[in-house]
């Protein structure tokens, strides 16, 4: 089951990407640099919180549910991908509300 989580993440990201591209909402809009900057900064911020969290042993990931590749000790590669999904889909939702 190691592949389930990453599969769900990528599947969702692809879906949001298609929507984004079709309606030119976020990363396909004319303001893409501004949005990309906000996404990158937010991912960095959330990774910082994650880093503090794993540093103090507050949370950790189930090795049976992840690929086993890490971006930082105890932060799996899935985490930045999840954070990208959250931030990107949030901005897409926001633009759809407009």
């Amino acid at each position: 089951m190691q592949f389930l989580y990453i599969t769900i993440l990528l599947f969702s990201i692809i879906g949001i990407f298609i929507l984004d591209r079709k309606r030119k909402l976020v990363l396909f809009s004319s303001e893409r640099t501004k949005f990309a900057g906000a996404i990158v900064a937010t991912i960095m911020f959330a990774l910082l919180l994650d880093g503090i969290g794993v540093g103090f042993n507050v949370f950790y990931s189930n090795p049976e549910a992840i690929l086993g590749l890490y971006v930082y000790p105890d932060i799996p590669i899935e985490e930045p991908i999840l954070l990208f999904l959250i931030t990107h889909s949030s901005l897409v939702t926001w633009r759809l509300l407009s």
């Binding site: 501004k34 906000a38 900064a41 969290g53 507050v58 950790y60 959250i86 939702t93």
Partner: protein, 377 residues
């Protein structure tokens, strides 16, 4: 104890304040509230999957235990903090750059060490090591404390500093009015964050810490504005550097208080403040600011500072400082004599700069001596 609630709670509250008072006030927008509703539903679904499967596990000792379904409530704070960050990202990035450029310069990075060192030295001397907790105190006196002292000072001094060329140097930059609000906000957040830490140690430490903050604020803030009351200006200024040492001593719960050493430091601080006020005599008189130096005049001020140094040395010898340290104090006295012989008080500027640089040299000598003492004896 660093629990999950603290880790996400502090950023969440900070970002909420940022959004309401500095940022885009998103939380008041109907559309944003609607978005948060959708976000919460999406989060419930996705986080349920993460926590029920489970992909992510929590240390039961470090979470509140309150859960919605399988989701710890702290996760929601994490999510909302992230969203607040995302929607204020541009402003936040600009604020960070602004802080970097303005507040940092305003806090005189050159002098940071002068407040951190007095806090760190007693801890190191008496514990022979500096732990993580101790490091927090030292860090407070390294950066936030200087934001406080000099930030408040630059806000309240803006009018009189406008015409002082010295303000463009290592002694800080001029802080334009449009940066005043953000400077004070950053200071407030930093200082408040340290209050619980002090209170958790002892009531005495908490009281002392409040005293430190009040002294720092009212050095330049109205209605007290201690810096324009002759003599009190020197005392308050000296306390800026002495109180960090006292906090360090109380922090480690020192059994025997080194009264003479602290007194020596206090007198030294007064003398140095008088010396530092000399180059400003003319601009201060022009700005109608009263300082020790404007009241006594240049000559008497220099003599006062010189006697202060002698008193400080005598006190430190009584307190147990080795005599040979005198050799390294000679430059201070040569400097005082040179200032005494100067015709114009403004020329003392370069001597005061020498004083600031020599402090680093003398600090390095002290440090080496302390390391030698603590590791070999």
């Amino acid at each position: 104890m660093m629990t999950y609630l603290w880790i996400v709670g502090i950023p969440f509250v900070g970002l909420l304040f940022y959004d309401i008072f500095i940022g885009k006030r998103m939380v008041f927008q109907k559309k944003f509230q609607m978005f948060l509703g959708i976000f919460t539903i999406a989060m419930l679904l996705f986080d349920f999957y993460l926590t029920a499967w489970p992909v992510v596990l929590y240390n039961p000792a470090l979470i509140s235990g309150l859960r919605i379904g399988t989701i710890p409530i702290e996760d929601f704070l994490y999510g909302y903090a992230m969203i607040l960050f995302l929607f204020n990202a541009q402003g936040l990035i600009n604020s960070v750059l602004l802080v970097w450029k303005k507040v940092l310069v305003s806090s005189r990075p050159f002098s940071w060490i002068n407040t951190a060192y007095p806090a760190a030295l007693p801890i190191f001397l008496f514990q022979k090591t500096i732990g993580i907790d101790d490091l927090l105190i030292v860090l407070f006196f390294l950066i936030p404390y200087n934001f406080l002292v000099y930030g408040v000072n630059d806000v309240f001094d803006y009018e009189s500093d406008k015409n002082n060329p010295r303000k463009q140097s290592i002694e800080g930059g001029l802080l334009e009015p449009k940066y005043h609000a953000v400077t004070l906000w950053i200071i407030g957040v930093f200082v408040l964050a340290f209050l619980p830490l002090m209170a958790s140690r002892s009531l005495l430490l908490f009281g002392l810490f409040v005293g430190v903050i009040l002294n720092a604020v009212f050095y330049s803030a109205k209605p007290l504005r201690l810096k324009s009351i002759p003599l009190l200006d020197s005392i308050s200024s000296s306390l800026h550097f002495v109180l960090p040492a006292v906090v360090g001593l109380v922090w480690i719960g020192i059994p025997i208080f080194p009264t003479y050493i602290i007194l020596a430091f206090f007198v030294w601080g007064i003398a140095s403040h008088i010396l530092g006020a000399i180059p400003d005599i003319v601009p201060d008189i022009r700005a109608k600011e009263r300082t020790v130096a404007t009241v006594f005049g240049k000559r008497k001020s220099v003599l006062l500072a010189g006697s202060g140094y002698i008193a400080a040395i005598w006190l430190s010898f009584v307190g147990g400082v080795p005599i040979w340290i005198l050799i390294f104090l000679i430059p201070y006295f040569v400097n005082v004599i040179i200032i005494l012989k100067l015709k114009e008080s403004e020329d003392a500027q370069k001597n005061f700069r020498f004083f600031m640089y020599y402090n680093l040299v003398f600090g390095a000598i002290t440090t080496m001596y302390v390391i030698y003492k603590t590791s070999f004896l």
